[in-house]
Symmetry: C2
Subunit: 270 residues, 2 copies
């Protein structure tokens, strides 16, 4: 999907919500467990319940990989079920030397046909660039993450005064363009968006950490939104596990609709 | 496998060689392609040809993941074929927030029963620690990698004078022990081993980059070896693709034996 197409979807749906499909067999409603493929069935029902309110889905690959070969089949069937006009992100956080990075890129872009893959930056240019060489596909580099451990290295102050995450964003931005490169910036670090928007005024940001992790939609938008929006705000647990009753779809749908409604207000005031 | 058991294997075999099972369907001998499962068959023959000369096998997960669900079955069958006294490393370079890191750890340690997993450090403590909580299992953190892109961030000079890779190694070492934590240090940066051994005098290092990438076994041992050896030197392409003829096993076996022989000499002079 191109940047223009993604922006069109955002405007059409009045939403920049990404739903994280971090489906955990231990957390899904119990009545699904009697079905042949509970995780796939859950995913399909969540997609049906939320597809009108979101513009992206983001399966975290760990949740599928942990199931062995079967998990990869579920991932593929889940992807096939997602409507074609919705952006798909493999939250894989891969990063390896050039020829291996290329193999990861082919896996997610060709074998699974995702629109985007998240990438860990520690190994540098040859670990990132292979993801940027696929037409209408995206690399999403970890800039500043939403977890507590982000403070261990990402905030390290460099000799020239910048923080490591600033250097990562500044440097990586040169390897791609606004058309094939996004950054992960955690909602729990909203005030850092002021610094980040100086470095990359227009790049799309994928923002986890709203909801369960404590980040605020308003704060993120205050500092991070652009005239083209350029934000994808992710919510996983708050939507997936809004209820574990037999009518969980209704609760998940309502949770997604509520966020979309807040986004609509923000977009109207942009 | 415990540290003591690994050291015993090294002494018994007079080898600290790790064979990287980065099996690429486009590079294996053509006569295998007519078999039902060429990659598994190649792996089995390579294991038979090299198991007396190495103490570890390291499949790079990208090579299996790229094949979809089938690739994970091949990985599992490959692991089942590796003798139980040989150390196994999932070269996966995973790293994610705590609950997800735990899921990756369970995948590789429980679903696949690897002894060790490589980990990307950018997301900090909660992305690393879950890998260190499994009995007799190992996390292997990227310290200083062998690729060109290592210079982009890993060598960044921090305000306090240390390089980022030094901070990563120094900090991460506190999260585990010499019994459950190793570091990746590329052979192409052998002189940095002097600095690294000051930080972690006894930790095992997994060293890629000897051979195809240009690193030298002698240089690595000169700066990195300890009284307990504490090195695993990886070779992938140089052994796997030593020949693509019908007798490739002989060439691979000879390539592994040659490295083992050099290691034996080094160990005798230790």
């Amino acid at each position: 999907m191109t940047k223009e197409e993604l922006i069109q979807q955002i405007k059409k749906k009045q939403s920049f919500l990404c739903v994280g499909l971090d489906t955990d067999i231990n957390k899904i409603p119990k009545h699904l467990l009697q079905l042949e493929n509970p995780i796939l069935e859950f995913n399909k029902r969540i997609i049906d319940a939320t597809k009108n309110y979101c513009v992206a889905y983001k399966p975290n690959i760990a949740f599928y990989e942990s199931l062995g070969a079967k998990g990869w089949e579920i991932l593929q069937e889940t992807l096939a079920y997602i409507p074609k006009d919705i952006f798909t992100i493999a939250d894989a956080k891969r990063g390896d030397i050039g020829n291996t990075a290329n193999m990861y890129a082919r896996t997610f872009f060709e074998t699974y046909n995702f629109d985007a893959v998240t990438i860990a930056p520690y190994m540098g240019e040859d670990s990132v660039k292979p993801f940027l060489e696929f037409k209408n596909k995206w690399g999403i580099v970890l800039g500043l993450t939403s977890n507590q451990g982000a403070s261990d290295f990402q905030f390290s102050e460099l000799k020239d005064g910048q923080r490591l995450y600033e250097k990562v964003i500044r440097t990586t931005a040169n390897w791609g363009s606004e058309e094939n490169l996004m950054f992960v910036v955690g909602a729990t670090k909203a005030e850092s968006l002021v610094t980040i928007r100086k470095l990359i005024p227009n790049h799309f940001l994928l923002v986890p950490g709203v909801g369960a992790q404590g980040g605020s939609l308003e704060e993120v938008c205050k500092y991070g939104i652009t005239k083209d929006v350029s934000l994808l705000i992710n919510s996983s647990r708050g939507i997936l596990y809004a209820s574990n009753g037999v009518d969980f779809e209704t609760s998940s749908s309502e949770a997604a609709r509520k966020i979309q409604s807040e986004m609509k207000t923000i977009l109207e005031n942009l």
